[in-house]
């Protein structure tokens, strides 16, 4: 039976733009597990109230509910150890958490400064006021002011990618010769942006762009086929 994923969607059901849900989508593909990825909007708190919290990703796997992308990755390896592992050793998990911390605290904010208004513009009507209010409170300014000066913010993003670029100049994936969970954590950030923003985050010849293309093409082109702007 397919695993159910509550997956953040925009105005259209197939515009999926949560970086955290993308981690799960890629993790499920890595393990070859079927998914029923149901569109979910920010304001549909009731639909996931059974999980005991208010954010996606949430999965239902048989009788088990799991939320939080990291917990879901750990669950998938524990529940399906015979499928390709996302992280094979405690130390892989520990060091992958550094990649996740960097993604969450450096990469996501750098992208958000570019795409925050684009997110708003691609939301379902019923989510727009919620998103604007919560984000403007968090950032202490309007979405419009928050994203002003895109060229400068794009330069800052490309600068903050230096460690990733350095790494990917020497190996095809974060995880080495083949992708695994650390790759999906970082890739989720780019799928988020691609789903809702026409901004070209990367120069074509950037090793990060070459790596992104590999993951867009992975698993039969699953991520590349998702609704969004050209990468």
């Amino acid at each position: 039976m397919a695993i159910t994923l509550y997956d953040l969607a925009g105005a259209e059901d197939d515009r999926r733009f949560s970086p955290f849900c993308w981690r799960v989508r890629m993790a499920l593909a890595h393990k070859g597990l079927a998914v029923d990825a149901r569109p979910w909007r920010f304001t549909e708190k009731d639909a996931i109230a059974f999980s005991g919290q208010s954010k996606v990703p949430v999965i239902v796997d048989g009788g088990k509910t799991v939320f939080d992308s990291w917990a879901i990755a750990e669950h998938l390896d524990a529940a399906y150890p015979e499928k390709p592992l996302l992280m094979a050793t405690p130390r892989e998990r520990a060091v992958t958490k550094f990649v996740m911390a960097w993604t969450d605290t450096v990469l996501h904010p750098a992208i958000f400064r570019i795409v925050a208004l684009d997110i708003h513009d691609h939301l379902h009507e019923k989510d727009k006021a919620y998103f604007r209010k919560t984000r403007e409170e968090r950032f202490g300014t309007t979405l419009e002011a928050f994203v002003a000066g895109r060229d400068e913010k794009l330069a800052a993003l490309r600068q903050c990618l230096t460690p990733l670029r350095t790494l990917l100049s020497g190996q095809p994936f974060l995880c080495g010769e083949a992708p695994a969970y650390a790759d999906y954590v970082v890739f989720g950030a780019f799928q988020w942006a691609r789903a809702i923003s026409p901004a070209r985050l990367l120069a074509e010849d950037d090793p990060v762009a070459v790596w992104r293309r590999r993951l867009l093409d992975a698993f039969g082109g699953m991520a590349g086929a998702a609704r969004g702007y050209p990468a």
Copy 2:
């Protein structure tokens, strides 16, 4: 027989301040291997000419010469697989390289902007002109101008540590419950600074400072006993 390490030293033989040599020192301690860490100065190119290049760390292990801290780590695991492994799987090595890329391209430059002149001031007299010339050419300014505005640069360093701080708020070491190579890569940067600069890089209650203390105390307090300023 002890492994010989050519180890960058300052004015005093026991002031060892290369972040890359510290990676090796910690790696050797992790594996429980004895070391003869010989003081070496920037201008003693002849002493390591046998390695075919001009930088430390260089080790001589029996008949084998290995240079570059990463190559040395891989050598130690390959040559001593029965000793605790620095990195146990190809994926651990791959993801650890991200930690290394972050350290080399984000952390080291942030520290260098604070300590560059302190390095100069702690060098052996015969190294001072070489260091000043090569670094001033690289940075296009004097060492004095390069480090001006320490408070601002200290704030920038602490800011760039956010991913590490986030990680270490949830686990004792980068590598999880016990330290391994990813820890030593990052720790080397702090040993470098501590050896030659009185600057207090970290607030006492910073989780990064708590982690650093664990590594200063590891292996019988080896790193903590090294000549330098209070951490």
